[in-house]
Symmetry: C2
Subunit: 250 residues, 2 copies
């Protein structure tokens, strides 16, 4: 059994803890949590501490806290045994200031507290300071998820940016579409088959091959007409993205 | 059997013709095609004409051509029998200048020539000038697809804008993510589980509930760091969308 101590109580920690509990190969020996905000999302049987000096011995310490807390927290870890990793896409490996060996276990996924994630479909980007630690991280990643990719800090930071476009920004497009539906008294459900197809397409086509619509056709009449129907915030986004698409295809 | 004449040879016409061929309740009696560009995408057994005066009698004439061609084409239709409809989201019903009754059959979907569409998952927005024609259009829509929504020209134009955000713009986010992957020597496949989850989420959460990421947290350090790593075109999009998300959630 791989002994794990999990630090943090946010969305990523909640989903990792839940996946660890289900694995027979992993022993989540302890959680560290500074506050009690999300306690009802965690298994009551796992011991919890809020004192760094009470941390138990483990093979791996997973710091799943906000980016800005990683350095300060890891600085307090004076032990040298075990592997200490963070889970951030955008923070470098050397944001970890502990004495033990360092690594990164970045789950390429979007975690919402109330949405069950099928970990089997998650990819991980992994990095370790020492080559000999990579195997352990790879084992954990494949126990948890689907695929594990070796990536250095620079590649991971680029991957994280790509993920922001693919997830956060794509979802924001759905949000604006949702708002337009509500403002005009029809249901967002009307658009769901279209959204599902949008994603189905990129299983077999590149996003470039999949693109359709007025901006791709550089149909200036439709673009102008549609832009004129939007409030100024949406209009600015509409015009910038239409011009970016027109530029890419024409 | 409902007799249909289909005008056009683009992506929408290709997919409609293919769906009509599979239905036992629809008789696609003729196609009208001005050019021969996509002929290999159509069933060879359907009679084709490029002369308006040779159009056969039908219950419904479906004009699936580019927006800007609709008025000019429909102007040439001097018959009074049958229903003439266009398939455009952004054109008004009265873009049709024919003498026969008018309607709109707008498939809320994205059509690429080489991508099979499961018509069963398509919604349609329908409009007719005369109440008595609505039933016929509704029958065709439900033979072809999933749900039919009655919408007037104004609502349909709003729906089309929402569809541009939900489909074209979301897909453009995937395209930018794709480009970042390629530029940094890793596969876009890494992001596919994330993209699938992005869409899965909105089956049970609103896009607003589903949002995560640095802009939602208004994490200015990450936003600044990520923006600085992008070329000027991507940076402009990154900054505008991050600020739009931050504004929406904070």
């Amino acid at each position: 059994m791989i002994k794990i101590v999990l630090i943090g109580s946010g969305n990523v920690a909640i989903h990792l803890a839940s996946a660890f509990s289900k694995s027979t190969k992993i022993d989540l020996v302890q959680r560290f949590s500074r506050n009690n905000t999300n306690e009802n999302y965690f298994d009551k049987n796992i011991s919890v501490t809020n004192k760094v000096e009470d941390l138990l011995e483990a093979d791996i310490y997973i710091i799943a806290i906000s980016d800005k807390g990683i350095s300060d927290f890891s600085k307090q870890l004076h032990f040298k045994k075990g592997l200490v990793v963070h889970t951030s896409g955008s923070m470098p490996l050397n944001a970890l200031l502990c004495k033990a060996n360092k690594g990164v276990l970045y789950p390429i996924q979007t975690f919402s507290k109330d949405q069950l994630i099928r970990f089997k479909n998650i990819s991980f980007a992994l990095e370790t300071e020492k080559e000999e630690d990579f195997k352990l991280l790879e084992i954990i990643a494949t126990i948890l998820g689907d695929k594990a990719y070796k990536m250095d800090t620079l590649q991971r930071s680029k991957l994280h940016i790509a993920a922001v476009f693919a997830n956060n920004f794509a979802n924001h497009m759905f949000k604006i579409a949702y708002d337009i539906c509500i403002e005009n008294d029809f249901s967002f459900d009307i658009l769901k088959p279209l959204i599902i197809e949008t994603v189905k397409k990129i299983e077999t086509l590149t996003p470039m091959e999949a693109q359709t619509g007025p901006a791709k056709r550089d149909d200036k009449i439709v673009i102008k007409k549609q832009a004129s129907q939007l409030d100024s915030d949406k209009k600015e986004i509409y015009e910038l993205l239409s011009s970016s698409i027109s530029k890419a295809y024409n």
